[in-house]
């Protein structure tokens, strides 16, 4: 119950006028970028890093958290009205939600998505309030060996979950790791793969990579696919939802939240699995299974709740272990590092005002998002009418601006463009880009922990297997590595 006291302190911080302002800016921006196709919370936070450097870290993270949650709300609007899921968590929402919208029930779909996101976001944040300190207590006994093992577990699960095949996920991960190794080695001060280029001695900034992959890569991909703009469905009569819709929605919301938070909190993270599971469960439990595939409200309510609860779950490993499991979380970790903060169990002791202010702001942000999205959905939907030549031209304006202002360096801009072209190629051949971003930020941490662990054990590599937690985590990593191909092989045989 200590958490409650700390949470009250957190609210005292989050309810300061300037922090409410930043939370509002965050949710506003988050909803907008969630709605706009081709731009998401990861890219937005990355672009804002240089701008927020002068801001107080508490306010900056309150804004980032608003963007993070807001992106989830906005993403569902686009999936429902345009049938182009912005991120993998809203694929299912697009499936049923767009069908509902086509049959004239757009407002019910949007309302159940917004309310479900609110319910799940709030439940997820409550779970975070209690799970995070508990997890941080456990993490306190983690030494370098355990951290290394945990990162390896993250690597294996992330690369096998994201991407069509594990080999592609791994390839992306190793490309990210390779980028992360460039620069001065932290332990010995030796230059690695800098090709004698001065700007590379400080290493490649994660923003350069993320903006390249997400902004330039995505723009190139969309420009070269002659699909044409999708049909935007107009909202006819903003009626919210009927009593029957509500009766059919509330149970899926709760079930989705229950599924999403724990799965999101695992080192695998990700929102695909909980949304797919939620969809399958709702289809089985529904009294109207025949409606699924033609616009069943349960098929929007459940997965949308699971998606938002998973977003809250992802914050548990990020805050307590410093382990990001999504691209946005990886950028948030980079933001912590920019402010010389290292998420992990100690941050709960050294910077309680930051952690608890952030958690409290999630409650406030969620509430703001409900108010912004439920009555104003038709207004937000107008953002979808921005012509794509202007939208993508504009994205590149901001991408160039954000990357240049990292170090006032044209070199960074050129590198970002180049990485973007590579990212476009990766999309063409179905290689996921998120593992590269995560690998890039976690790689140097893995190396540091690995070398620290061996320094402690005086070079004895058995330290990773003789400590029970580390051995278990590495065992799980091995299982994850074997399990996915094995399951696929067995499926093929049967």
């Amino acid at each position: 119950m200590e958490s409650l006291g700390l949470l009250v302190d957190g609210f005292a911080i989050a309810l300061q006028w300037n922090n409410i302002f930043w939370a509002f800016v965050g949710v506003l921006l988050g909803t907008a970028v969630g709605i706009l196709p081709g731009i998401g919370p990861a890219l937005t936070v990355a672009l804002l890093l240089p701008v927020t450097f002068s801001l107080n870290p508490v306010s900056a993270f309150i804004m980032f958290a608003g963007i993070y949650y807001g992106g989830m709300y906005g993403g569902s609007t686009t999936s429902i009205l345009l049938n182009t899921p912005g991120e993998s968590g809203s694929i299912i929402t697009a499936l049923e939600g767009n069908k509902m919208a086509r049959s004239g029930r757009a407002s019910a779909a949007l309302a159940t998505a917004a309310l479900g996101s609110f319910v799940a976001g709030t439940l997820g944040t409550i779970a975070l309030t209690f799970a995070a300190p508990a997890m941080a207590d456990i993490a306190l006994i983690f030494g370098p060996a355990e951290y290394f093992a945990l990162i390896i577990l993250g690597f294996t699960t992330i690369s096998s979950v994201l991407g069509k095949t594990p080999a592609r996920g791994m390839l992306s991960l190793f490309l990210g790791l390779a980028l992360g190794v460039v620069g001065i080695d932290l332990q010995t001060g030796q230059a690695r793969f800098t090709m004698d280029l001065l700007p590379l001695f400080d290493g490649i900034h994660v923003v350069v990579v993320a903006v390249g992959l997400f902004a330039v890569g995505e723009t190139l991909y969309l420009a070269t696919q002659s699909k044409g703009a999708g049909e935007i469905i107009n909202i006819k009569g903003w009626t919210w939802m009927s009593r029957e819709d509500l009766a059919r929605s509330w149970k899926p919301w709760l079930r989705g939240s229950l599924l999403g938070f724990p799965i999101g909190g695992l080192p695998t993270g990700g929102s695909e699995i909980p949304t797919f599971l939620s969809y399958a469960i709702e289809k089985r439990l529904s009294k109207h299974p025949e409606e699924f595939g033609h616009g069943a409200i349960e098929g929007v309510a459940g997965p949308e709740a699971a998606n938002n609860a998973a977003a809250a779950g992802v914050l548990v490993p990020l805050l307590t272990l410093g382990l990001p499991t999504s691209a946005t979380a990886a950028i948030m970790l980079a933001a912590f590092q920019q402010f010389n903060l290292q998420p992990g169990p100690l941050i709960f002791i050294t910077n309680p005002e930051l952690v608890w202010g952030l958690i409290a702001s999630l409650y406030i942000g969620n509430f703001m998002l409900l108010l912004l999205n439920l009555p104003l959905a038709p207004l937000w939907a107008r953002l979808l009418k921005i012509p794509s030549p202007f939208l993508y031209g504009g994205i590149l304006v901001f991408a160039t601006l954000g990357t240049y202002s990292l170090n006032n360096s044209v070199f960074d801009v050129g590198l970002m463009y180049l990485i973007g072209v590579i990212g476009f190629y990766m999309r063409l051949v179905d290689i996921p880009v998120a593992p590269a971003v995560i690998g890039m930020i976690l790689g140097p941490m893995a190396e540091q922990q690995f070398r620290r662990a061996l320094a402690i054990s005086q070079g004895d590599a058995t330290i990773f297997f003789s400590r029970p937690i580390s051995a278990t985590l590495l065992g799980l990593a091995l299982c994850a590595l074997i399990a996915v191909p094995l399951v696929k092989y067995l499926q093929k045989r049967s």
Partner: protein, 153 residues
């Protein structure tokens, strides 16, 4: 062999080349001095190995899937336009300045997205980059290249 498989193999070969570069390059990293037992070469070796293995696996997969699967598709014209815009923007960012260089990039991207109104796009691009320039320099204290406009702005 379908075009997609060729592209996949080409990417994997690129990754293999990178892996070999890392492998060879690792041996020339200075070891430095210190208590460090592992040294700065160990991780690059592991990453090089990982790249070689995963890229080889991808080639193997690509050849195995040689049935048909989804076909690779992209249009060349927008690709050329945007890449041209990127090159212009990076080469001229400091000479022309942020406003003009990025305006050119904006117009070329608009063109790549099938806009036919070049004059309108240039105009919109100019307004956008000018607003962004003042917002982030005067408003937020960033420094952006002024270029040829340095007397004017």
């Amino acid at each position: 062999m379908s075009r997609k498989i060729c592209f996949e193999i080409a990417f994997a070969l690129g990754a293999i080349a990178l892996g070999l570069y890392l492998f060879i390059g690792s041996s020339s990293i200075n070891l430095g001095t210190g208590y460090d037992k592992i040294g700065p070469r160990f991780f690059p070796y592991i990453i090089a190995g990982g790249l070689l293995i995963s890229a080889s696996l991808m080639i193997f997969e690509a050849l195995q899937r040689n049935r048909l699967n989804s076909e690779l598709h992209f249009e060349k014209a927008p690709l050329v336009l945007i890449v041209f815009g990127l090159i212009i923007s990076v080469l001229l960012l400091e000479r022309l300045g942020f406003i003009l260089a990025v305006m050119i990039l904006f117009s070329l991207i608009a063109r790549a997205f099938k806009s036919q109104q070049l004059i309108r796009d240039v105009f919109v691009g100019l307004i956008l980059t000018t607003i962004v320039y003042y917002l982030f320099t005067s408003g937020l204290g960033l420094v952006l290249p002024r270029g040829v406009l340095s007397g004017l702005i």
